[in-house]
Symmetry: C2
Subunit: 261 residues, 2 copies
């Protein structure tokens, strides 16, 4: 007889009931919530497929598809013949704004603290125009100064299509300070950001940015361009990051590449 494992996670972390959301996605979401909420500690053994199919309204195939997705996320490790376990170093699910700097020991990331310095519609065209479908001034730009661990500051320019995501226009600025835009997209627009394209080079920073982040004019630093998309071909935002010279390394990806052998 196998050891009894906790199976009431569905009560504590109920699966979302979004209309049209498939079962495997609901189960996956519930498991993610439970793991992030500490229901199972890192390294803990998860219920077996049998237990999950028995104690939940999900069939074996559905359970397996949800678990496979968690493995691809790096949240769960499965060992044939042994069991499924919470990954010991679960990857950060929400890497807000794609801005993570390594700590000195290389293991963690420095805390970031953003605040909005500008919000406006833009009519000029730029690298954002094509991916976001600019027509006239339907582009919303949000600039932020992002303090990184009391060491330095990064300047961020953020662009979305105002026709699609106009509700951002009417939020108070303070609310945008700490907003995880990915979370907003998922919660309010049901758009999961799944693809990220990032280009990096060195560049001379413009005067306004230098002033905003307290570096001297004409500073040369890292220039990062980000296009985030929902699904394979639906860009939802474009972002530019100006990172002054620092010893800290910017972590640009910890992502899956090709899938399933």
């Amino acid at each position: 007889m196998s050891e009894q494992r906790r199976l009431d996670f569905l009560e504590r972390y109920p699966p979302p009931e979004k209309r049209g959301m498939p079962k495997y996605a609901r189960l996956r979401a519930a498991l993610v919530s439970a793991i992030e909420g500490g229901y199972w500690a890192p390294g803990a053994k998860l219920p077996t497929e049998q237990e999950l199919t028995g104690a939940t309204p999900y069939s074996l195939g559905t359970v397996q598809r949800a678990m496979r997705a968690l493995v691809e996320d790096g949240i769960v490790v499965r060992r044939q013949g042994s069991g499924s376990y919470v990954a010991t170093a679960p990857r950060q699910i929400d890497n807000p704004w794609h801005l993570r700097f390594r700590t000195a020991d290389g293991r963690g990331f420095l805390p970031v603290s953003p605040h909005v310095v500008l919000r406006e519609r833009v009519e000029v065209r730029g690298p954002w125009s094509e991916p976001l479908g600019q027509e006239g001034d339907n582009i919303l730009r949000v600039d932020r100064r992002i303090d990184v661990g009391d060491e330095f500051a990064v300047y961020s320019r953020f662009f979305v299509n105002a026709d699609r995501f106009g509700s951002l226009l009417y939020r108070p600025l303070a609310e945008l300070d700490d907003a995880n835009f990915k979370q907003i997209l998922l919660d309010e627009f049901d758009l999961p950001v799944t693809h990220v394209s990032q280009d990096v080079r060195m560049a001379i920073f413009p005067a306004d940015a230098c002033e905003a982040i307290d570096v001297e004019d004409e500073t040369v630093g890292l220039f990062l361009q980000v296009v985030a998309s929902a699904g394979a071909g639906d860009p939802v935002y474009y972002q530019e990051l100006l990172i002054p010279p620092t010893e800290r390394a910017l972590h640009v990806s910890d992502l899956r590449e090709a899938s399933e052998t």
Copy 2:
């Protein structure tokens, strides 16, 4: 009656017959080969699930799993009620050495041409030691100068565990010039590189690297550190790239993030 679609791709692009390779992976590999080989043009309609299950030794579930993997790769687009199509801008499958620089128009990538300048065992420890499991001098280092589109050169330091991948030691250097190490890992060791962690910062280049890539001493440029893993927690190589100042943007990722909402 539906239009007859070409179904002899399995003869022209036979699925690999690796022992223990699951069917869905073989079908996926065959489809990838056929698409990359031009059997179906971008935008072309692929055979339906029915046709595939009927004309191949694969069941519906297997076909669907292979197709879903292709969608996650961005190689195929599926539309319910319509069909499956080759993506019009299929992502580059093999981004050798993670070194791709945008062309001026931002659409393509500059050609790269590497050649080996050094191959040796190393005993000193470094950032590669922990992920690769260094014990004594069991680390193999391969340095290369990589010319990028006749414009500039990048210096690359590459590290693997010699105990695991010792066969690299005995290959002629010329053969390593153009080697796609990912392909070697897949073909000879059955190890698909699926995870890539990349950190970037600015750094002063050491004298030997400056000389090798024809830039002046003490040059400040991009410093990129890469850890590539097979599966969630099996690092297979560590790489450092020294990129001198250039207008060209380095493309650091076009990868999936979270999966299957």
